[in-house]
């Protein structure tokens, strides 16, 4: 049997069938066995009864994206699975396990020419008291992947502890039955043993690492208005902020949420909120207030398909325009984008640091894919960025909150500081903060806010720049992982391709960009947006070589490494 570096599994079932639980148990068991992995879920908008699938990739090395094709597809049932047939592509080498009473295979799966095996999953579950089909599926997958019954048994015990003995024993019986049913089956490949384990590993989602990054950066107040797919950030912060002396408050709407964090930050407490596109639209006015009044705040936008309500449960990279251009007036602010589940930690922490240092709002553009995906990953390295706001200790009467200085940042008086009283204002104001409509004050304060962002040294964190070569991929956010994997495949064929993925989208970094692009003659731009927003953003702010191609498409279908690889290969011929 050939040994492979990674293997992809999809477990499909209508809502309530437990496909997602199967996926979670499988990932956890694989992590115990020493493998790395990634799990994303694809679900419909229904809370119960809709279609659902767990998409898993297990590997002997860290992985940041899903593969283009599933090696093993298990359908507990196929109810409504046609709705996401394109997301569970299989090939001729794939093994598809289907319940004979589970409905018809999705057309796209049936056409693929995969080996299809029938296993009466539901009947087998019925034969076990309290038995559930998803545990049969777990047993099937475990055996085919070479995961031992012992490991899964421990995971079941741990995860179902609250459900009691009966549930645990029923699940174990299901697992055993599934393993037995897989005895005659063959996946046709074996996952290579894990590479030597050195680092501490985490089982974590991007929304969780975002929450941790916020607290590590210094955030001690969060305002929360629930929205898919950002709620998990707020739900992680809710119990954890109080543990470090912080507070989370549920707001009545996104307008309140952002104004609450402005109030908290004005009082000296670093503050954050998390939302998705519709919420970001509502927060835009107050982002302008934070810009004008120079109040540091962080807004995480976990992007989903838009416009309007769009597809709440699925990923897209189409909020770039609103994040960069959405504010009225000339309103310099920070826009950052994490590139992976672990980078959500770094980028959020860095965003808090930059916001606090520069007294400006920061928008962090995460997305549904990295936000809700769960990875088995190496523990990210600690970073030193902790928000440090320049605080004023003024003498009575002389304090100028918005004093124009060379660097543009003026020390901020925090309420409670004697002699620092001033009124923060969204009206154009002079150095003392007093409203004015004078041309001179208006220009001086616009200059000041611009200067402080432009003159700051952001360092190498502004972008991921890897490799050499005259051909470069430019991408951003969660597509960085897929682009990196495509480049690795092309490199194996002896061609070098450069990867340039900005983490800092505003303020733009023309000098660093020019340096990163030195020697590049051709650029492939890769993004998940119908309107090619990233391409237009690059055109607006940077000089690109003549030879540019764009691989772009809206969500919800992810752009997989093989598509990027093909685009690169076509170009080189």
């Amino acid at each position: 049997m050939p040994e492979v570096e990674n293997v992809s599994i999809a477990i499909v079932g209508s809502g309530g069938a437990g496909a997602l639980t199967t996926g979670n148990f499988l990932l956890e068991a694989a992590s115990v066995a020493g493998w790395h992995g990634l799990l994303t879920r694809t679900v419909g908008p229904q809370i119960r009864g809709g279609e659902a699938a767990a998409l898993i990739r297990l590997a002997s090395h860290p992985v940041e994206c899903l593969a283009e094709r599933f090696d093993l597809l298990i359908g507990i049932d196929w109810l409504n699975a046609n709705r996401f047939g394109a997301e569970i592509e299989v090939g001729p080498q794939s093994l598809v396990i289907t319940d004979p009473h589970g409905g018809d295979l999705p057309a796209i799966v049936a056409r693929a020419g995969a080996r299809v095996v029938k296993v009466p999953i539901k009947e087998m579950a019925k034969a076990i008291p309290e038995g559930r089909p998803n545990m049969i599926a777990l047993g099937l997958a475990a055996d085919l992947l070479g995961l031992s019954e012992d490991i899964l048994s421990v995971v079941i015990e741990k995860r179902l502890a609250e459900k009691g003995r009966t549930a645990i024993e029923a699940s174990r019986a299901g697992l055993k039955a599934g393993i037995a049913a897989a005895a005659d089956l063959d996946l046709g490949m074996r996952l290579a043993p894990p590479k030597s384990r050195t680092a501490q590993r985490w089982l974590v989602s991007g929304n969780e690492t975002t929450g941790l990054g916020a607290i590590r950066g210094g955030v001690r107040f969060a305002a929360a208005y629930p929205i898919t797919p950002a709620s998990e950030i707020l739900e992680w912060l809710a119990p954890n902020l109080p543990k470090v002396g912080g507070v989370l408050l549920q707001a009545e709407d996104e307008l309140a949420a952002i104004n609450m964090i402005i109030g908290a930050s004005y009082g000296g407490t670093p503050a954050l909120t998390a939302t998705s596109g519709p919420g970001l639209s509502l927060m835009i006015e107050a982002l302008g207030l934070a810009t004008a009044a120079e109040i540091p705040i962080v807004v995480v936008d976990v992007m989903r398909a838009g416009p309007s309500t769009g597809i709440p449960t699925k990923s897209e990279q189409a909020d770039l325009n609103i994040a960069v251009y959405g504010l009225h007036g000339d309103a310099p602010h920070l826009v950052l984008a994490p590139q992976s589940i672990t980078d959500c930690l770094f980028t959020t922490q860095w965003a808090v640091y930059l916001a606090e240092t520069l007294q400006a709002p920061a928008i962090v553009l995460s997305d549904q894919f990295i936000g809700q995906a769960v990875a088995v990953t190496d523990r990210p390295a600690d970073i030193a960025f902790i928000g440090q706001r320049a605080k004023a200790l003024p003498e009575a009467g002389a304090y100028k909150r918005y004093a124009v200085s060379a660097g543009g940042v003026s020390p901020m008086a925090i309420p409670g500081t004697r002699g620092g009283q001033y009124t923060a204002d969204g009206l154009t104001h002079n150095e003392r903060g007093t409203p004015t409509s004078s041309e001179g004050d208006h220009r001086a304060q616009l200059d000041k806010r611009c200067t402080k962002l432009e003159q700051f040294t952001y360092g190498d964190h502004w972008a991921t720049v890897e490799g050499d070569g005259e051909l470069a991929i430019m991408t951003w956010g969660s597509l960085t992982g897929a682009a990196r994997e495509a480049i690795e495949r092309v490199r194996r064929n002896g061609r070098d391709v450069r990867l340039i993925a900005p983490r800092l989208l505003l303020p733009v970094q023309p000098e660093r960009f020019t340096a990163a692009l030195h020697g590049v003659k051709r650029i492939l731009i890769v993004e998940q947006s119908h309107g090619a927003q990233f391409h237009r953003y690059l055109r607006a702010h940077y000089d690109l070589p003549d030879d540019v191609r764009v691989l772009h498409r809206p969500g919800p279908l992810p752009i997989r490494p093989n598509e990027i690889e093909q685009a690169l290969m076509q170009w080189s011929s």
Binding site: D253, L255, N259, T269, D425
Partner: protein, 278 residues
């Protein structure tokens, strides 16, 4: 506000800034500013420990006219901003200033939830029944037949009852004041700031420019005939049936103010990642 640091022997003038108000001559808001400074002086508040938060409109210009910390934010969101401030800085006295457009129209939802949440802040709405800063459009408290360029012949809509809404939503202190009686208004503000939880004070404050008829309010206002109750139902019934010019404290509730949940002990940041470890 029992925990808040104060000092003795203050002068109302200590709470005024040197910025000249933009209000029209004769505007009721001048008297509200006077009531603010008198109340702050009577309470002996430290200006550096007091924050006046507002939204947009004539009344919302008040923070910069005090010597306290201030925040003149966006239209309608002052209560949300003040809530974020107060829950993270319970050591500060937070007073929110608003108007009938800012507070009841664009900010209506925040009004409901601030009452319900019952954070220890004082909310002062200067009600002149008109949008003054945008030159005379009808607000939620404007009479149905008030003729304006935006509502020729009037809106035909009944004004609503902010005080009753506050009671229904859970405000812990409800009062009505009249700007033309600054001493009385200051006394009400003192009580409102002292009362724990969310205190709501509606100040009838005439707009002499767009509502010259409101100059007559001074002849219509009268002290509330009965003392404040702690029964919101009774208070609501009185307010629904009075003539709208009853001045005084109308309701004092006993609800405990909102308190952020605190953990008995805080942990080291490094402990937060334990749940992710394999």
């Amino acid at each position: 506000m029992s925990s808040i640091q104060t000092r003795l022997a203050c002068n109302p003038a200590d709470y005024k800034s040197d910025i000249k108000p933009i209000w029209c001559p004769g505007c009721g808001d001048y008297h509200v500013l006077m009531s603010f400074t008198r109340a702050f002086a009577e309470l002996g508040l430290l200006p550096e420990k007091t924050v006046v938060v507002s939204g947009i409109g004539c009344s919302s210009r008040i923070p910069a006219y005090t010597s306290c910390y201030g925040f003149h934010g966006v239209h309608g969101r002052s209560l949300a901003l003040a809530t974020g401030l107060k829950v993270t800085r319970p050591d500060l006295t937070v007073v929110v200033a608003s108007g009938d457009g800012d507070g009841y129209s664009i900010g209506g939802n925040h009004f409901l939830h601030a009452c319900r949440r019952n954070v220890d802040i004082t909310y002062v709405v200067m009600d002149n029944r008109v949008y003054g800063m945008t030159k005379g459009q009808p607000s939620p408290t404007t009479e149905p037949d008030f003729d304006t360029a935006l509502s020729p012949g009037g809106t035909g809509l009944s004004p609503f009852h902010p005080l009753v809404i506050a009671l229904a939503a859970g405000a812990n202190f409800v009062a009505r004041a009249f700007s033309g009686s600054p001493n009385e208004t200051a006394s009400i503000l003192v009580e409102a700031i002292r009362h724990p939880g969310f205190s709501f004070v509606e100040v009838l404050s005439p707009c002499v420019t767009f509502r010259p008829d409101e100059r007559e309010w001074k002849n219509r206002v009268h002290p509330a005939p009965v003392a404040a109750t702690n029964d919101p139902g009774k208070a609501a019934r009185r307010i629904m049936t009075d003539d709208g010019f009853n001045i005084g404290i109308l309701y004092r509730g006993n609800r405990l103010p909102y308190q952020a949940k605190a953990e008995p002990r805080t942990i080291d940041l490094a402990e937060l990642e334990r749940e992710f470890e394999l």
